[in-house]
């Protein structure tokens, strides 16, 4: 897989899946705009000068449009857009607030939609443009009722993927549906080691292959889909979850609360 002379935009590139996706694209020759609300210093240090860090909040439309103008001025095209950024803020329906809805839908649904809108013209200038939307197995299975905002936004972005295909001819667009991936969103630094272990064990008990996913499991799929090998795959949704969506292994006694603590 070679991505020389490719311009790639990855949202949520500071850590986890987004960082690994950026790393693999850079390894394969691309220049990557890495977007994040969080500091990107570590990625800059590790990934060298083909990693172009931008501190951007994708739920703010004007920040997206000014980046699109910059990419247009410097490159005149965008080859690959990876809508990866995610947040997770579980709550019961009773405790549900408009703020938590706006925050999560802003990053999980509105952000990707307006990324596609503002980069559509630049994508259509590329030779083989490709968009990946990061949905989740939460779009398909209800792991926990407290994740209703997250799950429903992920269902929306999975469906949006098919409309990109019909609205922007020539741009391939696919959705990936990761399961539980070992990232800072699952293994929170403010958790005690015991809490982290409880969260991880709870997750693993539901995964038929018996381990958490790794960021590279997801990045491998993303690069495959964006490469020539994936060229006829369009509008599809692909789970990368170790088989979790096939049905729960129902004997978990691990503590759900540890796993569903507030994360972003």
């Amino acid at each position: 897989m070679k991505f020389e002379n490719h311009i790639v935009v990855v949202t949520g590139a500071a850590s986890g899946m987004g960082y690994e996706i950026a790393r693999q694209f850079i390894d394969n020759g691309a220049a990557v705009y890495g977007l994040d609300k969080a500091p990107l210093d570590n990625a800059v240090e590790q990934l060298g000068d083909r990693f172009l860090p931008r501190r951007i909040d994708i739920s703010a439309e004007h920040e997206i449009s000014s980046l699109a103008q910059e990419v247009k001025r410097l490159h005149g095209k965008l080859d690959i857009l990876i809508n990866n950024a995610g947040v997770f803020r579980p709550s019961s329906i009773i405790d549900f607030t408009v703020d938590s809805y706006d925050f999560q839908y802003g990053v999980l649904f509105k952000g990707p939609v307006f990324m596609v809108k503002h980069f559509a013209a630049l994508l259509q200038k590329a030779e083989r443009p490709c968009v990946i939307n990061t949905s989740s197995i939460g779009a398909r299975i209800i792991v926990h009722s407290h994740s209703f905002v997250y799950g429903s936004a992920k269902a929306a972005i999975e469906k949006f993927t098919k409309f990109v295909v019909t609205e922007l001819p020539g741009v391939r667009c696919n959705a990936i549906l990761p399961g539980v991936i070992d990232t800072p969103m699952v293994r929170r630094s403010e958790f005690s080691p015991d809490e982290q272990e409880a969260a991880v064990n709870f997750a693993i008990a539901k995964i038929p292959v018996g381990r958490l996913g790794l960021p590279r499991d997801v990045a491998n799929l993303v690069l495959f889909l964006c490469s020539e090998m994936g060229e006829f795959i369009n509008g599809e949704s692909i789970t990368v979850d170790g088989g979790q969506h096939c049905g729960a292994l129902l004997d978990s006694t691990a503590n759900e609360d540890a796993y569903f603590a507030d994360t972003e």
């Binding site: 439309e61 019961s92 329906i93 009773i94 549900f96 408009v98 809805y101 839908y105 649904f109 509105k110 939609v113 307006f114 596609v116 809108k117 559509a120 013209a121 939460g138 779009a139 209800i142 926990h144 009722s145 407290h146 994740s147 209703f148 905002v149 799950g151 429903s152 936004a153 992920k154 269902a155 929306a156 972005i157 999975e158 469906k159 949006f160 098919k162 409309f163 990109v164 019909t166 609205e167 922007l168």
Partner: protein, 249 residues
């Protein structure tokens, strides 16, 4: 004697919402209809008589939902059926999408449904037969309007929300109804003005049923799901589209 059943219908002022209210009233259920259009609500009240009570409410604004709940709770001590019907999504191309269209589509359909459930679930818990029906769209199954990406995506979120409700409220039944092309004022909003006439005519030819659906045909499925005859249907999503989604995309 069985106590009277009480239903709450959002977007009650026209189309599927209005027909649902009518059928509930015919079944001797008391109906409280929410709508943001005062004229539509007073027309409903005229047509449906004393078993119908309208409350003016824009469900995307939590203060108004809280106020509607307060008014409801002054009169009734429980809610049996909640029908989350409100939520038109304007047809717009991705390239010309603006924030206002996007926010209006999402805020009424999905945020509004969540806010109504949040504020009325306490009253639903007082019912022995609590039932939520969320109205989605066949647009989640098939691209109907050339530019229905917002409705299609947001209604996919609604389907997912229904299934979270099944997990979150094990004593309620929660189901989704997904209408296809129904002859309501909303139909025109699914298409941009210039494509409206032609598209609807072309789509009619593609429909296995050969005609548009009627609002009462969707309402019959909604009221069936609320009835005791549907007592084991939970987490289902029922298409009412005359076979549209079986056609080639």
């Amino acid at each position: 004697m069985k106590s009277e059943r009480i239903a709450l219908v959002t977007g009650a002022g026209s189309g599927i919402g209005l027909e649902t209210c009518r059928q509930f009233v015919e079944q001797a259920t008391i109906v409280i209809g929410l709508d943001s259009c005062p004229e539509a609500l007073s027309l409903c009240a005229e047509q449906l008589g004393s078993r119908f009570n309208g409350i003016l409410c824009d469900i995307s604004d939590e203060q108004q939902v809280v106020e509607a709940q307060r008014k409801f709770a002054l009169e009734y001590d429980k809610l049996d059926y909640l029908i989350n019907n409100a939520g038109p999504c304007r047809s717009v191309s991705l390239e010309s999408l603006d924030r206002a269209d996007f926010d209006r589509g999402c805020d009424i359909k999905i945020k509004g449904a969540m806010l109504v459930v949040k504020n009325f679930c306490g009253l639903l818990k007082k019912s022995e037969v609590a039932c939520i029906v969320n109205i989605s769209s066949a647009e989640t199954e098939i691209v109907i309007g050339k530019r229905s990406f917002l409705a299609g995506s947001v209604n996919a979120a609604v389907d997912n929300f229904t299934r979270s409700l099944v997990r979150g409220f094990p004593t309620f039944r929660s189901n989704t109804v997904s209408p296809g092309l129904i002859d309501t004022p909303y139909l025109c909003e699914m298409f941009s003005p210039e494509e409206s006439e032609d598209s609807i005519a072309a789509l009619k030819c593609r429909l296995p049923s050969g005609r548009l659906g009627r609002a009462e045909e969707v309402a019959r499925v909604i009221t069936f799901l609320c009835s005791d005859r549907a007592s084991y249907i939970n987490g289902a999503n029922i298409l009412v589209d005359g076979g549209l989604s079986c056609q080639a995309a």
